[in-house]
Symmetry: D2
Subunit: 398 residues, 4 copies
């Protein structure tokens, strides 16, 4: 439900030479092309400005396609992405590039039984040797033995450590373009995953656990850290600039929900009043009507308090393949926007979490905080809906 | 099932300045972005060459979005499209641009009851006044009274006449960029529609019929003319250049089938041996599994003889929004390809139809032609499948 | 946008024995299952009542799957479908069943090059011999030589004649269950197609035209006949029962638009005040955002006057495969509804068309009728939108 | 790629009374209806037999729709589901039913800003009070204080404990039909989630962590337990009955991958030779071509060793809404299959994990086990692909 742009359509014939920006501005006039144009405009005109904290959720096979190196890494390096929630698979396959292993663009119409016999792996139309998996697995298991991994940690720290080792290998091997993990490590961009055991990374961590590794991944640290990041997004640290939070959702799935649930975590569970993300931008092929959260709309998210009701005009969903939309919007943004200073949220995690914890403690002390009685499970209907802390849910902000 | 391209993926960071061609070549590496890249390559390297007759089928609201003027018209003018099958709606809404009427890019989330009250029409996120319809209708009814329309004709001639009048109005009004209809008229590109009564154009023709108009649209002329075009595509008229037929399918629907059925018309019905289209390129969001012809694959088309079995590598289906893919592939092709001389197939319709008819008559005279006996409806299973003329269906071309 | 049904969800464990009706009523609680339940309820409680004229549009490979015989025919015979708009393909493949030819349920994952070599045709997961096509084609060409076909006609009459011959063959061959075409003939249900040349039926008609057949299919007769049917739907001929028009849309494509355009034909083109269809029920996999009319919503149709603004609660779109939804809703309706008397609209076509024509003539005589001046193409913006006859478009019905 | 069923289509008219089984067997003949029929047949004829261990992955809003109570619970109670991987959301919303809270079937077209103001939550077309969330949250936080939760555990144990408390509440409140969680607790069906922090359950666990709770959810326990379950599935404990593993995938997302990755965990990471799941049955709307794992096909899974290459005929994907397919296949299976004895895998987790660990230790001791050298990251291409333990990957099983 992007801002109503009612402008006359004035088509002109496609010239022989045209820039990406002019192609989008002049020829993406309707349907999903118009949504993609709106995303480009919203990003370049509002989101990629100072004061906005940008969270990216990443699902779908983006890094196998090389988009970790070609698109996500430069976005981070230009300060356009402040924190990330990714599937484990996107981080695992990103490592192949960091380790100098080869993936191939091929066809989706191959004979998988034959591929299996030949020791080749297929991700739709991407093909690589089984050795790529085995080599990456061996690398992971090797570094997991190192001292820094012998403790309980969240996934931001875990991926930061992975990134450090991958970065080292890249330097050693002379890998030309840094991977997503290495870049995030260098730029202080924290990367979370909502499903730490789900991917070959998790599989290898689990194998090491069978061998006595002391590494424990604690998902609840992630829940609180991500809530703390969004909580702090309101304070821009820049005079006269209002802090805002943007959710940039590539695909859907568990990473999408993990990015969005930060807001209900703040108000529904922790009782800290909050207003929802200010920007909701999604590229997906999932539709709202078939039951998945992937396709749930910004509007539905408003009813949950995940998106601020007053910010619906700042939401866009484009239904197309991310492998098409992501390079296009990146080309647009990198061309049109000044790089932003790195926020280095990774380094500030402790500070942000401490602030969240302190405010939560304070909210609990407030006398109005009602202790809902779980014994009498039948929750009596209240005349006015309230936050857990007892504050009535505001009807409007006036 | 595009040609197997097994090439190493070598991602490099997105630069601040990048051309459309480099964006596609370097960043469209997998999934539907790779299909779109393959379409660009197939078009620019093989299809837009001499000797290839290119048929375009057009469905979905392309002209309301201005793409008739901005994309289809320049493709025609550069000789890249030789004939067209379009929905009536795309031709009707193209006329708005030719008549200087205004359409607006807006939002898909408007209140339609309110729009109805205000006299505004919505095509998803495109809005315009009801007067745009009434004005276009009045124009159509006015010109339909002219003498050239008082007879039986196919839709190519009908749209040619429409294009002539629209072209005149464009000149009179000083419309800057010509419409699809006017351009087709000028370039001799015949435009067919598979459903002549289905659209506001048909509605107005029908209204005039109530008033005594002598115009009769005969769909069977179209069936035979389009078959004749494809039949003649084999002869390139250029020494040492094999004639080929390309099907470029935007969307799906009835225009897709009408474009593809030309081949079965030649061999299944007319008994003229044929081999199917050489190129099958489709942009659609329709999937193969839900029952519509829109989503039927090039492979399935092979079983019907719509696509040559040996040409499967020259087929690509990209599942994305046409409003995204069409401007992109047009920018690529117009940048990368030399303009081709206009074939002006409109002017050659009589000649091509005469050739088809003569060869059909000849085929029927051949002694091997079996008259299938419809009395004994139960068709007995033949050991070897044959064409209607009795020729066994070749297993291979050797 | 079906009627708001806010009822408590009260799930109970699935029993070992359950009827289709109870399965739908009790277990189809949300998402597209709830839309399918709403369709069942809307059909059985409101649509399949006296006074409602039900038009069916049919696209997608329904008859190849046998659903013409198993589902559409019994719906007609019970008086639940009054008129039909079908793709030609659905009528062509229906004939196979009438002619006693065999189709097979198979797999969608076959080798089409091999199928082509073996003389087998594939429609996704349905397989049959090439001879089935040749036999059906031969039958069509044989009967097309008969006297009744030697004239200009609309598709209702054309399909009626086809149905008569198919019906004869069925009797002769002892085909157990009548085809869609034969049933429509027997029940007086007129069947239109919006694209008469698009399908093997059209291909054979075109071939006969090459041989001198006098048959001309006139699509404009169809446009006016279908508008006349919808126009007359307002008069139920039953005391105290308001006449209503229902659009039951299976799939989308050109048949959908042809069914819906009847309303704009009445008010936008003919200047007869009208209010839009009263029921809009669609089963499709086409989404609103990708440019096709197939996915256009009932809401958008309101802005065009295709659907009555006050009847939005009587619209439902279910996004699922028609091959799933159609048997389910048929089982529900045939179980829950009393058969309705046959309207035999085929027999009343002349009468209905005469009424339409007379009212059109009368409307044109009204002094308020403005002759829009096509010379001054620039339609001046009017303060109040009007119908072609000059009547202002009502803002509300009060 | 289900088994090739080439059977003649013999449609007969829909009768007024028809059972669910006859509806599916007789009228689901093609496209996705045929896939749904194949799922029903595969489940009832092969999967729901002794010796087959059935894992269910659950994503999409199934329990909000009541399907946890109405469909999943009875499937478990009949012994048809042996273990589950679910999104957290499905377990959280299932608790509402266990706690006697009310959810309502409504419309997807409501005004979310208004809903937010009224304190109502929307999941597409399901509506409930914000108090339902607050009450469920309060219940979770209350029981999390209990002693059994003060330790590190996997999600199977965590959900088992949740189920025990929910079961108690159900008894106390007189809830008529048990929830998914309570039923799993009673039947010893272990429930895993791949994303423990992602959902309101995780959010509340995280909040308790801020307050000093000792509960740590360890995802790696889950990775190893689920691998152990699949590893043991090969041993049926029944004489002359081969043990098999079935993956029943509702939706896609992270649960799908977590269910399927058990096989690569066994051979790729742990070096235990394995052959992939024997049955792969999925209901989804996700297509293979847009980058998500949700739409990845059984064929692609073969290349990864997730599915046994010889079992491709035992794989079916049905593209439709789970809310439609799940009640239908459940009605079919419960009607057609004898209940199976409960496997109570929850009780056997320690035993199965010990077996896995012992075999892993043994495999590592084997002299052929190559220690891949992560120092020399550049994995040298081996002439023959091997498992981590050094065993060449078999080309065939002979």
């Amino acid at each position: 439900m992007s801002k109503l742009l009612s402008q006359k359509i004035t088509p002109s014939p496609m010239p022989a030479e045209i820039s990406v920006v002019d192609l989008i501005d002049g020829y993406f006039t309707a349907y999903n092309s118009a949504r993609l144009r709106e995303i480009c405009h919203l990003l370049s005109r509002e989101v990629m400005k100072e004061g906005v904290t940008v969270g990216l959720s990443l699902s779908g096979a983006m890094t196998p396609a090389g988009l970790g190196v070609s698109v996500i890494a430069p976005l981070m390096r230009n300060g356009f992405i402040d924190w990330i929630i990714s599937t484990g698979a996107n981080l695992y396959h990103d490592m192949h590039y960091g380790l100098g292993l080869d993936l191939y663009a091929s066809s989706p119409f191959l004979d998988d039984v034959k591929l299996r016999q030949e020791g080749r792996i297929r991700i739709y139309d991407i093909i690589f040797d089984y050795d790529v998996l085995l080599g990456t697995d061996a690398f992971i298991r090797q570094i997991l033995k190192a001292e820094p991994f012998q403790k309980r940690m969240g996934t931001a720290e875990f991926h930061y450590l992975l990134g450090r080792y991958v970065s080292e290998v890249e330097r050693k091997l002379g890998v030309k373009h840094p991977s997503l993990l290495a870049t995030a490590y260098e730029c202080g961009v924290p990367i979370y995953t909502s499903s730490p055991g789900d991917s070959s990374i998790g599989m290898n961590v689990a194998a090491m656990a069978l061998e006595g590794s002391k590494l424990v991944i604690d998902p609840m640290l992630d829940v609180n850290e991500t809530a703390a990041i969004v909580y702090s997004a309101r304070e821009s640290d820049i005079p006269d600039v209002e802090g805002k939070s943007a959710a940039l959702i590539i695909g859907g799935g568990s990473p999408k929900n993990f990015l969005l649930q930060t807001q209900p975590q703040l108000h529904e569970v922790l009782g800290l009043e909050e207003r929802g993300h200010d920007y909701f931008i999604q590229v997906t092929d999932a539709r709202p009507d078939t039951g998945g959260l992937s396709g749930a709309t910004p509007n539905e998210a408003v009813s949950w308090g995940k998106v601020d009701p007053e910010e619906l005009p700042n939401t866009v969903v484009c239904y197309t393949d991310s492998t098409i939309a992501l390079p296009i919007l990146t080309a647009y943004v990198i061309n049109q926007c000044e790089p932003r200073p790195l926020k280095r949220l990774y380094d500030r995690r402790d500070e942000l979490l401490a602030k969240l914890k302190a405010d939560y403690e304070a909210a609990k002390q407030r006398p109005s905080h009602p202790a809902p009685e779980p014994i009498s499970i039948g929750v009596t209907k209240q005349p006015v809906a309230t936050y857990p802390c007892g504050t009535p849910i505001r009807n409007s902000r006036h």
